[in-house]
């Protein structure tokens, strides 16, 4: 017995816990890596939100009339504007350089102002200085108006959203039926060899940078459409061409994801159907497709989200300049197209342009985020079925 208990003592000592510092350090580092993603999301939401908030809450300075720039004449508390036609009314806040003034009266081309408004310091303003008026953009205005023209203070998001929806719908009309058909063909009809060749081939389509598609839309699709429908009908820049090419871009996304979903349906289910005397089509349509439906739905939603966010194709092919139109053959500017065009120019921070971009960006983010979350919910349900 003593011998045994000695042995056991040793065993017990060996089994005792040992500190493992390296393991702890590694684990902490890995956690930090994971947590960074939260930081990124936080960054996105914070930055977009902050600037968008500025857009809605801060006083925006706009030039009501370009011509006023050159013709400002300063007296003590009066400002003379040579050309009228301004929207400046009493109670408006205006700014010349860094000095803000409250307009008390308007007499023709001359304004009476209280200088040094909002504790800005009155300064000397020689002639030819830029005059700006202050205004706030209301959320209601943002979401209800259909004209977008920051130059003249029009901030109706629908001009942009409408174009986005148009290109997206056209894209979906192209991509969903074709993509799904391809998926069914590859998963149910094509031989393994053909499938293994065709699927990556189509995926090359997905790997081509979107700027190339933009080029394709402008130099191939638009001329093609114009040769079909006539040069007069279709503008050089138009949403139809952009939408179709977005559709082509998205085909492989839809077909590949749907094919994955179809492929994930266990062979056993197909065998069950064949074993009952079903034909190939009956098996594909009535057994495989319903079984994969949530995966396919998820693919569709991701495709929509992708179409919403697509930028370069519309930037190149859909045209510059927001326009509220339902004619796909006219040019129009989407949300993304607008962002990229405006930010591509020389953008001054703290301008209303800059801030408005973030408002658009936030809206875009929220839209795509919603779609993504929705598709993930569907996918999660889909996973549970076969586990």
């Amino acid at each position: 017995m003593t011998e045994t208990s000695d042995q056991i003592q040793i065993t017990k000592k060996d089994m005792r816990r040992k500190p493992r510092i390296a393991e702890t350090i590694i684990q902490t580092f890995l956690f930090a890596c994971g947590a960074l993603s939260i930081l990124i999301t936080f960054g996105i939401v914070y930055e977009l939100g902050k600037e968008a908030l500025l857009f809605f809450t801060l006083t925006q300075w706009e030039q009501p009339n370009k011509e006023t720039q050159t013709d400002v004449l300063r007296t003590d508390d009066r400002i003379l504007i040579s050309t009228s036609g301004t929207e400046i009314l009493p109670e408006t806040v205006i700014r010349i350089e860094d000095e803000q003034m409250l307009v008390t009266a308007v007499q023709g081309a001359s304004l009476s102002v209280i200088r040094g408004y909002n504790e800005t310091i009155p300064a000397d303003h020689p002639e030819g200085k830029e005059l700006m008026t202050a205004r706030k953009v209301s959320i209601v205005e943002f979401f209800t108006k259909t004209e977008w023209n920051p130059q003249i203070g029009k901030f109706g998001i629908w001009a942009l959203v409408n174009a986005t929806l148009m290109t997206s719908v056209i894209a979906m009309l192209v991509a969903l039926p074709i993509g799904l058909s391809i998926a069914i063909y590859l998963s149910e009809y094509a031989s393994d060899k053909l499938r293994d060749t065709l699927k990556p081939t189509l995926e090359i389509l997905a790997g081509v940078p979107t700027v190339v598609y933009g080029y394709f839309a402008l130099t191939f699709m638009t001329p093609l459409l114009r040769s079909i429908f006539g040069q007069d009908v279709i503008q050089i820049y138009n949403t139809a061409s952009a939408g179709i090419v977005i559709g082509i871009l998205i085909i492989p996304l839809v077909s590949s994801m749907s094919e994955d979903a179809l492929h994930a349906v266990p062979l056993a289910l197909r065998e069950a159907a064949y074993g009952l005397g079903a034909t190939k089509l009956e098996t594909a349509f009535q057994v495989v497709l319903p079984a994969a439906i949530s995966g396919i739905a998820a693919a569709f939603i991701v495709a929509i989200s992708r179409a919403f966010g697509e930028t370069m194709i519309v930037a190149i092919a859909a045209g510059a300049g927001p326009k509220f139109t339902f004619n796909p053959f006219e040019s129009a500017e989407t949300m993304t197209g607008h962002i990229v065009r405006i930010s591509g120019g020389d953008l001054s921070y703290n301008s209303i342009d800059y801030n408005s971009l973030f408002a658009i960006g936030l809206l875009l983010f929220v839209m795509t985020l919603g779609l993504n979350i929705f598709s993930q919910m569907i996918v999660r349900r889909f996973r549970e079925v076969y586990e």
Binding site: L269, L276, V287, P290, A291
Partner: protein
């Protein structure tokens, strides 16, 4: 029809000089077998000897494998099912199949049973058909209150019985089962075996099983397959189960069933 002349009353299916290839590889060699009507025939043998291959050739499921090629005749109810004018889809509606892993459709229990009959153009009272099939599969009592629940919500053993009900609903004459209980626990397994015994009053059943004990328990006839060194499977012995398990003719069979093989 000349084939009819050789058709015996108590025989459901005959395999004659059956050779099956996957590409160049011969998986099954020269099998001759007579399946007795309304009996349960078990196919046993070591892994890879071609049991599943033979079984799947019995309702042309093998054709779904692109490289598979079948030679010889399979005569079912007097007709060579591989004859050019015979439609594989039709064959499969006559010869049902139940698979290793329960594979109900992700549809309701009701639809699971009804679907096969529907696509095969069943015109009668569908509710009755579903109930009857479920009853035969000894599942009715357990599911009659939840016919609209998903087939996947059932337990493994119930799912397998649902698959059997589904196969029955198409009104086949012969049911092929490829290791129908190997994914189930012992209790569910015995239930399926009981069910097979019950079904064999009305159907001919062929079952492939890895489990010798199961073949013993659940079959009337047993076919023992083995494979050559070149991995081609062949029929070693075919006899009544009682005979084969107590007094096999072949030494190889004896070695296999007593566990002294390989």
């Amino acid at each position: 029809m000349s084939t009819l002349t050789t058709h015996k009353q108590d025989v459901s299916m005959v395999a004659r000089n059956l050779n099956i290839y996957y590409g160049d590889f011969q998986a099954v060699k020269d099998v001759n077998l007579e399946i007795k009507k309304n009996k349960i025939t078990a196919i046993i043998g070591p892994s890879g000897c071609g049991k599943s291959t033979v079984l799947r050739s019995f309702n042309r499921m093998n054709e779904l494998v692109p490289t598979a090629r079948t030679e010889g005749e399979i005569i079912f109810e007097g007709i060579d099912i591989y004859a050019p004018e015979i439609d594989a889809v039709e064959v499969r509606s006559r010869i049902g199949m139940v698979f290793q892993k329960p594979n109900p459709f992700p549809k309701s229990i009701y639809e699971n049973v009804a679907w096969g009959a529907k696509i095969n153009g069943f015109k009668g009272d569908m509710n009755e058909l579903v109930e009857n099939s479920l009853r035969r599969a000894a599942l009715w009592d357990e599911v009659k209150d939840k016919l609209d629940q998903s087939g996947l919500s059932l337990s493994g053993g119930q799912q397998q019985r649902l698959c059997i009900a589904r196969a029955i609903a198409v009104k086949p004459d012969l049911i092929l089962m490829d290791e129908p209980a190997s994914a189930l626990d012992p209790v569910a397994t015995l239930k399926i075996e009981d069910l097979m015994r019950e079904l064999s009053k009305n159907y001919t059943i062929i079952i492939v099983t890895h489990n010798m004990q199961q073949a013993g328990r659940a079959s009337d006839y047993t076919a023992f397959f083995n494979m050559n060194p070149d991995r081609a499977g062949y029929l070693v012995e075919y006899d009544e189960t009682a005979k084969l398990f107590t007094n096999p003719k072949e030494k190889l069979t004896e070695e296999y069933i007593t566990g002294r093989f390989g």
